[in-house]
Subunit: 557 residues, 2 copies
C-alpha cells in the first residue's frame, strides 16, 4: 500500500513514562494506540502483524488437529458459580447484568463455556479426543496496566481446550501441544524456555509456561545449569540438604531471651546457626482462618506453594495484634503449644534438622531443642520453600535465576472442570465417565510485543519476515516514475510492499523506515538510477547495494 | 477433514419453537449452538463459513482502500456522554465499571472510539480521505432475541468509518461503499435491495439499508413498481394527492356529536369522507412533554418520522387520563384551542383538504369547517405519514410493500460526531475544520443466516461455493481404500473436503450430507467402483453421475 494513505503517522517522541522498547516502538511507529490504560487499538500496521501471528498459530493448531470455534464474549455467571471461579479469580473478574437481570462474566478464560458446550452433546469414547480452540478478546481487571502490550486489561488470546477419555490420552495431547507451541514460537522467531509453573485460578495439577527470556518480563524462573529442569519461582523445587538431623534429640527447655524480633536477633542471642532456628510466619486466609507456616531458618516461605498446599485462595500476613489475639507474641511465635485453631503447615526442611530453637509464644522467652513430632504436630507437611539462585535442583544441578515474558502456557486440568460441571462421555463399557481435560493458551498481543522486545535496535523494530507488516519498504526520493513501476511490479508478483510516496525529506523517510522495521528497504532516487538501479538493504544490514531494476523482485524472493 | 473428528454432530430434531429455516438448519447441522438466548457459539463448521464471509468482506473493503484496525471492546463511557448516546441508545446499551470505578460501554457501534482515535492525530487535508474498519463483537441488550442469528444480543459486525474534508468528497466514498457492498453481497450469493432508511440512534441525515427480500425479515419497505424508489416503512415518502383544497373556507362551527370515539364513528355520524376528518394522536415524549400529531383522516402517523421531526428520543401514546389532564377528551381531541403547552405537529396532508371536521376537545362536541392557519397554528409542519401499498411514489410509480433482512447499512454522519467530539483536521487554508463523516456496517452473523434463508430446501442447506464450509463432501460407504486415497488426492490438489469416514449407515450419511449442504457430494462404494468410479452429484442436483476416480479432481475444479 501507499504510505500516503496510512492515516496513522509515526511520531518523533513518546511519553517519558514509556520505558520498554516494545511499548515505545509500537506506539511511535503507529502499530498500536492506547485508548485508556491497558486497552489498545491495533492500527493498520499493527493489524497486519497481528493477523500474521494469528495465521501462524491457526495453521499450527489445525495441523495438530485442533478445531477452531468461538464462544460468546459474555459468559453466563451461573457457569462460573458452578466451578466456584467467581471466588477464586478475585478482583480481576468483570461481571455485568443485562436488562433482564441475568449476570454475565467478561471471560478471562473459557473453560466453563467450552465444558458447557461439550456437555450438551452425547459424546462417545469413539468421538474422543478432541481439542477445540478460539481466538477471542479476554478481560482481566488488572489493578495496574504496564509496559504497553505486556500487561493489559483486554487482549486477544488463543485458548484451546482438549477433552479425553483418560489421563494417558491427555498426556499425548499435552506433548502434542508442547511441540505445536515450539513450532509456533519458532516460526514467530521466538526462542522459548518451557518452565513448570503454578496454575493460578485455572485449576488442575500441573502446567508449563513458555517463556521468552527478557529483562522486561515478569516471569521469574529457575533453570538448572544442565538445562534439564526449569521452573517458575512460584513452583521451583530444590534439594534441602541434611543438616544435623542425625543428632540425638535433647530435652526441650524454655530460656529467657531478651532479644529483638528478627531471625538475626535470634542467631546473635543464642550464637547458633540460622538454619537451626525455626522461622514462623503467621498468615490469615480469605475465610479469616489462621495458618502458621514454619520452615528452616535459612529458607523463605513461598506463598504460592503455601496457598496450594493449604487450599487458600488468598493469604495475608497476620498483624501484631492478630498474633497477640491467639495468645502468641510477634517475634516469638512457636508451633509448640500454639492455639488449637491455628493450622500448622511445616516445610519438609524441618526434617533436616534436630534440636531447633525459636520463640515460645511469650515475649522474651525462647524454646531450645525443639523437635518435630515430639514437641509439636503439624496439620500438613510438604514443600513450602522458595528456591534461590545457587541452590541445587533435585537431581543435583545448580539452579540459576532468570526472567522472561510468558507468551504461552499449557495446563493439565484433569477432572477439575468436568466433575464440577458434571460433563461426561459414554465409555466403551457403556458407563458415563468424566472427561479428562487440558487447556492451552497463547497471548497474541503480548506475543507481538515480545517479538519487538527481541527484535529492535536504537532506531526501531526489525521484524522477522514471518510476521513483518510488509516484506518490502519501497522508498522513492523525489518524484520518479520508476518507483511507481517497481511498486506495481512487486505487487503483481505477490510481494507485500509499503511504498513511501510521501512528499517528505529523505531523512524522514529513512528514519520512519528504520522505526517501522520492514525487512527489505528499496530506495529509488536519481542517484540510485544513475548508479544502475535501486539501493537495497535489509533492515539488519549496515550497507546497501545497487540492484538492477529488473532484478529487484528476484533479489527479494 | 475427517468427519469422525468433528466433535459436533448433526441432530435429527430441533426444538419445536424454532420456526425459521436458518435457525433450524444451522443448529441441526452443527454450525452454531446457543449459549443463552441471543448468544451463540460458532462451531467448527460455522466458523469455516463465517471466516469465508469475513474474507470476502475484507477483500472488497481493502480493494476500496479501507484500512483494517481494531478498537478495544470496552469503550470509555465518557465518549458516549460526549455524543449523548448514553441517552439516545436507551436500554439496549450495556455498561460496566472496572475495579477503579471507570465506566465503560460494551459497544453497539464504534463511532466514538474511531473519532477519539482520529482526533489524537494531527491530520492535514492531504491525509484525507480515509476509511477505517474493523470486525468486532457488538452488543445490543435486546429485550427479545429471536430467529437464531437474525436478532441476537451479541454478534460480529464489520463497521467502517470514513473521514472527509467536505460533503462532496464524502459522497464519492458513500457511492464507493455502496458499490463495494453490492460486490460483497454478490459474491456471497445475496441479491439486495438498497432502501432508504432511518438512521436510528446512529445520527446523521440519511442512510441506506441493504435488504435481502425474505418472509422472515423484519425490515418492511416499499419499492416502486419502476424500481427507482425503495424506502424503509419508517421513512417511505409518497404523493399526497389534493382532495378538496380548492374549496372556499366555510365558517367554523361547533355541533353536538353524540358519537363513539373512533374515526369511523365520525364518518358515520357526519356522513362525510374519512379524508376530510382530522386524525389527532396525542403523544408524550421522554421528557414528559405533550406532542399532538395531526394528519388527514385516511392516513396514519409514522412514529419514526414524528420522532425525527420533533427531536424526540422516545414517544408513547397519551392515556385517556393524560388527554383529560390537558382539558381535552379522548376521541374528541382537536388542535383548535388545545392547551398551549401541547406542541402541535401537522402532516403536510392537511394542506390537501379544506373545511375539515373533528373533535372540539369536549365530549360529544365536534367542530365543522376546520381550516389550518385560520383556526389553529402548528409548531411544525412536515411529513409524518405512513406509506401504504398502492400509494404513489413522489414520481408517480405505484408503491408495493415488501420485507426482508437487513444485512448491511451505510450512513451519512456529516458533522454529527466530529462536532460533538471536537474532531478537526487542518485544511489547505490553514484553518481547523470538522471532519465530514460516514459509517458503513455489515452484520456478519446475520449475513450467514441470510445466506441459509436463501439457500435451503426441505432437507437442509445448499451453500453457495463462495462460503461453503467445504467444497466437497466425500462419503465412503463401507470400508474402502479408494476413499482414503481420493481424500488425500483432493487435499493435495488444494480442494477443501469433508470426508465422512464414520461407521454409520448410508442413509444417515446422505441425510447429514443434505443437511450440511456442501456443494459437491462424492460417494465411493463397492457399487460405484463396480460402475467405474465415484458417484458425483451437486447438492442442488437430483441425480448423480459416475465419474472415473482419476477424473474426480478435474470434475470438481
Amino acid at each position: 500500500m501507499k504510505q500516503s494513505q496510512l492515516f496513522t503517522k509515526t511520531s518523533k517522541t513518546v511519553s517519558a513514562d514509556i520505558k520498554i522498547a516494545s511499548h515505545k516502538f509500537l506506539i511511535q511507529a503507529g502499530f498500536i494506540s492506547e485508548s485508556v490504560a491497558g486497552r489498545y487499538y491495533f492500527l493498520p500496521l499493527g493489524m497486519r502483524v497481528r493477523d500474521k501471528v494469528i495465521k501462524i498459530i491457526e495453521e499450527e493448531m489445525n495441523k495438530a488437529g485442533a478445531l477452531k470455534l468461538i464462544t460468546p464474549v459474555l459468559h453466563p455467571l451461573e457457569f462460573w458459580k458452578e466451578t466456584a471461579r467467581t471466588e477464586s479469580v478475585g478482583f480481576e473478574l468483570m461481571t455485568i447484568k443485562d436488562r433482564n437481570g441475568s449476570g454475565f462474566v467478561l471471560g478471562g478464560t473459557a473453560e466453563e463455556m467450552m465444558v458447557d458446550l461439550v456437555r450438551k452433546y452425547n459424546i462417545s469414547y469413539k468421538d474422543l479426543p478432541f481439542n477445540i480452540y478460539q481466538f477471542s478478546q479476554k478481560f482481566r481487571d488488572e489493578m495496574r496496566a504496564r509496559g504497553g502490550l505486556l500487561r493489559v486489561r483486554e487482549f486477544l488470546m488463543k485458548d484451546a481446550y482438549s477433552f479425553h477419555a483418560d489421563e494417558e490420552d491427555f498426556k499425548k495431547e499435552y506433548q502434542k501441544m508442547w511441540d505445536t507451541y515450539m513450532n509456533i514460537f519458532n516460526r514467530l522467531g521466538l526462542e522459548t524456555v518451557v518452565v513448570e509453573s503454578d496454575n493460578g485460578y485455572i485449576g488442575g495439577d500441573y502446567c508449563h509456561e513458555f517463556v521468552v527470556k527478557s529483562e522486561v518480563g515478569e516471569s521469574k524462573f529457575f533453570i538448572s545449569e544442565d538445562g534439564k529442569y526449569a521452573s517458575h519461582e512460584d513452583t521451583a523445587k530444590f534439594k534441602k540438604e541434611d543438616k544435623n538431623n542425625t543428632e540425638e534429640e535433647k530435652e526441650l527447655r524454655e530460656v529467657e531471651a531478651n532479644r529483638g524480633k528478627t531471625m538475626e536477633d535470634g542467631v546473635k542471642f543464642h550464637n547458633l546457626p540460622l538454619w537451626q532456628q525455626i522461622k514462623d510466619v503467621l498468615f490469615i486466609n480469605e475465610k479469616g482462618e489462621y495458618i502458621l507456616a514454619i520452615i528452616r531458618g535459612d529458607l523463605d516461605v513461598n506463598e504460592t506453594k503455601l496457598k496450594n498446599i493449604s487450599g487458600a485462595i488468598d493469604l495475608r500476613m497476620a498483624t501484631d495484634e492478630e498474633v497477640r489475639a491467639i495468645g502468641s507474641e510477634p517475634g516469638f511465635i512457636s508451633p509448640v503449644g500454639i492455639d488449637k485453631k491455628v493450622k500448622v503447615i511445616a516445610d519438609e526442611s524441618l526434617r533436616t534438622i534436630k534440636n531447633a530453637y525459636g520463640g515460645a509464644n511469650k515475649k522474651n522467652l525462647d524454646l531450645m531443642n525443639v523437635n518435630i513430632d515430639r514437641d509439636f504436630k503439624t496439620e500438613i507437611e510438604g514443600d513450602i520453600a522458595m528456591a534461590k539462585s545457587e541452590f541445587e535442583s533435585l537431581d543435583g544441578s545448580i539452579l540459576k535465576e532468570d526472567k522472561g515474558i510468558e507468551v504461552g502456557n499449557i495446563f493439565q486440568l484433569g477432572y477439575h472442570y468436568s466433575k464440577k460441571m458434571n460433563a461426561k462421555f459414554v465409555d466403551n463399557d457403556g458407563q458415563e465417565k468424566f472427561y479428562y481435560m487440558g487447556c492451552y493458551g497463547i497471548g497474541v498481543d503480548r506475543t507481538v510485543a515480545t517479538i519487538v522486545e527481541k527484535y529492535n535496535d536504537d532506531k526501531g523494530i526489525l521484524w522477522p519476515e514471518s510476521v513483518a507488516p510488509f516484506k518490502v519498504h519501497l522508498i522513492s526520493l523525489g518524484k520518479n516514475e520508476e518507483a511507481e513501476n517497481i511498486y506495481n511490479d512487486l505487487i503483481k508478483s505477490g510481494v507485500e510492499v509499503l511504498y513511501d510516496d510521501r512528499e517528505v525529506s529523505a531523512g524522514e523517510k529513512f528514519a520512519d523506515s528504520d522505526l517501522i522495521g520492514i525487512p527489505y528497504r528499496v530506495v529509488i532516487s536519481k542517484k540510485s538510477l544513475k548508479n544502475g538501479g535501486a539501493e537495497i538493504k535489509k533492515r539488519n544490514e549496515k550497507e546497501s547495494r545497487i540492484v538492477k531494476i529488473e532484478d529487484i523482485t528476484k533479489e527479494i524472493n
